[in-house]
Assembly symmetry: C2
Homo-oligomer: 124 residues x 2
DNA sequence: CGCCACCTTTGACATCTGTCAAGATAGAGC
DNA sequence: GCTCTATCTTGACAGATGTCAAAGGTGGCG
């Protein structure tokens, strides 16, 4: 299902929150849905994480060694942010030899994109 | 420029951050772009705000008096969250007589939706 | 004018978050 | 086994965030 490597890095309690809800232009979220989805937006709510995610999403997979360049924060901080993205279900990772690679979970991204899609009462 | 009611409630320093960038499946964000967009995701990162926003987005406009129902937080807290959404550029508001109405800014929502749209290297 | 309902602002407080330094873990290669 | 590199974990701390109680407008209505 993924372009990238096989599933891995089990550890996130994310399961399958992924397929979710109609666009909220169509129907409001329930309490449970909002509670499940907010963490994904929260994961994208930090500028460093947002940029990290965009770097990962723009290539089939990204090595941490390439991600750390171009940031002014320390290695541990990058690692922390990658963990947040992983635990939110937005990316997955795998160690291959010396390096660790990250790639996006397209289904999760699509779920968010669908939520924001226009087409309801308020969007023309 | 907006489908909704006339502009109002000036106060947010949001200007026109709205039209922005290619989907990050296509191209990573710059530091500046990430800094401009992260606040929008941050505004959606809280379950209460996310639900408030979905309630506003699912109708042409929403009265605060209707929004406060169905939440377990106090009135001031709802007001605070609405302000965050407004200052992030996601909604606008206007007082009409006794009541205050909120509606979404479709252009802002579309900007986020476009960012998340699949179609790049990592998606499929 | 006086009162009340609606909504926001202010002030305070506990919790969460981003960051770094220091230490730990995992592989590669000698 | 030892060492070196790459990455993650832990611990600590300043600053941001969500929440409420109390107080402050704003407008309708008698």
């Amino acid at each position: 299902m993924l372009a990238g490597p096989p599933a891995s890095s089990g550890g996130a309690p994310v399961g399958e929150v992924v397929a979710c809800c109609p666009p909220f232009a169509v129907q409001p979220l329930t309490v449970e849905q909002a509670g499940g989805i907010a963490p994904m937006f929260k994961a994208l709510a930090d500028p460093v994480r947002l940029r990290l995610f965009s770097m990962i999403a723009s290539v089939p997979e990204a090595c941490v060694c390439d991600l750390t360049e171009g940031f002014e924060v320390s290695g541990p901080t990058i690692s922390h942010h990658l963990r947040v993205l992983r635990e939110a279900g937005l990316v997955e990772s795998e160690r291959r030899g010396t390096w660790v690679y990250y790639w996006t979970r397209p289904d999760a991204v699509r779920a968010l994109s669908d939520l924001l899609r226009p087409g309801g009462a308020a969007d023309r």
